[in-house]
């Protein structure tokens, strides 16, 4: 059955957005990512204008991450304190990032810098996570040892910072400055790349903040929820590009997908989750590299979006 989308000004088979929502919602509940890096290009592929695709996806993520945060919160996997510090940083970083884009645009070839940053970030994060999780799965007994070795330099520096505070849910102690600064860093990059940044935030929480994987997923979703509320509202207000009907179709699938993902996630080990996420990030990287190098069928596209 087809439904007409009043803002996208196009008609779509309802099975497409519901199915996409289900698949991306599942990833969201499993890994704590928004999934914009998958959803937006897929929507564009199905004929949705790029600006509407990006804005409507953020509206859908509000629903999926509410559903996912709720599921993870029930089993005590959301560190609200850490989430709020990261959010604060992310908000400040977003402001800086938006200025950064203006500077890039003024310098010319902004698209090149943005695309390259995106590919490099995805590639580095994906490869690092993959290698690290495989290594630590192989050498189970020596995990504690190697961790202590790695921590020594970084941990000393982190411990020397002022405003040390304990994060109960995650079982870690950090300076309050650390999540704010890291959140800010992710916020800058996310704003420049035009994505939510979940795929960057998850590794930051795992590898630098040393939080347990299951708490990372819940906390990341909590954080994404607020970012996407802000983005949805701004997009609706300034660009009029949120398609409510498309968002409803997407969230029909994604809210359920997020619940299923959260249940699935509890059955998997942290390392397994990391490997799966790393593989997905790498597949997306390869897809973007292909898009950049193969001759496109159309040399002209609608203005707006990346």
């Amino acid at each position: 059955m087809y439904l007409y989308l009043p803002v996208a000004l196009t008609s779509i088979n309802i099975l497409i957005p519901v199915g996409l929502g289900l698949a991306v919602g599942l990833l969201s509940g499993l890994f704590g990512v928004g999934g914009g890096f998958l959803m937006t290009p897929l929507l564009i592929m199905f004929g949705i204008p790029s600006t509407v695709a990006a804005a409507t996806d953020s509206n859908q993520i509000v629903a999926a991450s509410t559903s996912g945060t709720y599921a993870h919160w029930k089993v005590g996997n959301v560190d609200f304190k850490m989430g709020l510090y990261l959010l604060l940083g992310g908000f400040l970083g977003g402001l800086v990032g938006v200025q950064g884009i203006k500077v890039l645009k003024a310098m010319g070839n902004a698209d090149f810098v943005i695309k390259m940053t995106y590919v490099l970030m995805l590639g580095i994060v994906g490869s690092y996570m993959l290698v690290e999780s495989i290594m630590s799965m192989k050498k189970k007994p020596s995990v504690a040892e190697s961790k202590q070795q790695k921590e020594s330099g970084m941990a000393k520096f982190l411990k020397s910072l002022p405003l040390q505070t304990h994060f109960e849910k995650s079982g870690v102690t950090h300076s309050a400055l650390v999540p704010v600064i890291l959140g800010g860093f992710v916020g800058i990059l996310a704003a420049i790349m035009g994505v939510g940044g979940g795929f960057l935030m998850v590794p930051v929480m795992v590898y630098i903040l040393r939080m347990p994987m299951h708490v990372v997923v819940g906390t990341s979703l909590f954080q994404i929820l607020f970012t996407c509320i802000e983005v949805t509202f701004l997009q609706a207000y300034t660009n009029h590009s949120v398609d409510f009907i498309l968002a409803v179709l997407l969230l029909l699938g994604s809210t359920i997908g997020a619940q299923v993902g959260a249940v699935f996630g509890r059955k998997l080990k942290g390392e397994q989750l990391k490997i799966l996420l790393a593989l997905i990030v790498l597949v997306v990287t390869i897809k973007i590299i292909f898009e950049l190098t193969l001759s496109p069928s159309l040399l002209i596209s609608q203005a707006g979006g990346h």
Binding site: M1, Y2, Y4, P6, V7, L9, T10, S11, G47, N59, Q60, V62, A63, A64, S65, T66, S67, G68, Y70, A71, K74, V75, N109, D111, F112, K115, I229, T232, F233, L234, Q235, A236, Y237, H240, V242, D243, F244, I245, A247, V248, L251, T255, I256, A258, Q259, V263, R266, E291, L292, T293, L294, S295, P296, L298, L299, I300, S301, Q302, A303, H306
Partner: protein
């Protein structure tokens, strides 16, 4: 008001004459003035939630021995599109904007023969019939010369044809000879759902000896109705309320599904 009063009787006369002509046309077929006529069926297309495109048929009567060209266009406008190019000889990415001036968003031409065979280039340019005359008509910036303009215009055509907004066909019009030296023509076209709301002009040209000898016009109106119209209107005119509602709906849907799953999946 005054102006209206003066025009009103004129208008009535026109309507009466049109009606009289219509009646005469059918009752005294043989004696009716030889004139090209055009009428679009389904000329008011309504977009509701279940809209997935429509069909539009155009029919009328023309002199026998004339070729026919039917052109359907949206009003001309200004379109800005992104162009892709190779960066560093290897990577494809957006390399800037292209502006297309005087280009309709929708343009389709149907004819009873190949355009080049039935019309001279001058006539095609005069009435903007066919892609090559549209190319002469449309301004593309920034381009360095004619060659680059042609290349980008061809890409523009590909882009438009990919979303069914531009079309060209020379075998869809059917004609039936009438016994009064006239012929009836008929065409049924698929109306793409990608065509945005607005007024579309249908122009029928009767062509003889490579020249347009007569033309007639009719209109197709595409309009959003009901909830589709109110949602689109709210998104455009009341962004704050629309944004707030979108966020609220998403929050409650997410929360609602969470509650359902808690009840259903009691094991966790």
């Amino acid at each position: 008001m005054k102006k209206f009063k003066i025009q009103s009787p004129k208008f009535e006369i026109t309507v009466f004459l049109a009606f009289a002509f219509f009646v005469l046309h059918f009752t005294f077929d043989r004696t009716a003035a030889a004139e090209l006529t055009a009428k679009a069926n389904h000329d008011h297309i309504q977009i509701d939630f279940f809209y997935h495109g429509s069909t539009v048929s155009v029919k009328g009567v023309a002199d026998a021995g004339t070729d026919l060209v039917i052109k359907i266009t949206s009003p001309e406008g200004h379109q800005v599109l992104k162009k892709k190019g190779k960066v560093g000889g290897l990577l494809w990415m957006n390399v800037g904007d292209l502006k297309f001036e005087h280009a309709p968003n929708f343009y389709s031409v149907y004819s009873t023969g190949k355009l080049e065979d039935i019309l001279s280039p001058e006539e095609m340019d005069k009435y903007t019939i066919g892609y090559s005359s549209l190319k002469n008509h449309v301004e593309v910036t920034p381009v360095t010369g004619d060659e680059e303009k042609t290349a980008w215009f061809n890409e523009f055509l590909k882009f438009k044809e990919a979303s069914s907004l531009y079309a060209m066909s020379s075998n869809k019009i059917s004609t039936t000879p009438l016994d009064n030296g006239r012929q009836e023509y008929y065409i049924m076209t698929d109306w793409p759902y990608q065509a945005t709301p607005g007024d579309y002009l249908v122009t029928v040209y009767a062509v003889k000896n490579k020249k347009v000898v007569e033309q007639a016009e009719t209109k197709v109106n595409v309009e959003q109705v009901g909830m589709v119209k109110s949602l689109a209107g709210m998104a455009r005119n009341n962004g704050v309320l629309y944004g707030a509602l979108s966020v609220l709906a998403a929050l409650s849907a997410g929360f609602g599904v969470g509650l359902i799953f808690r009840k259903g999946g009691g094991a966790h």
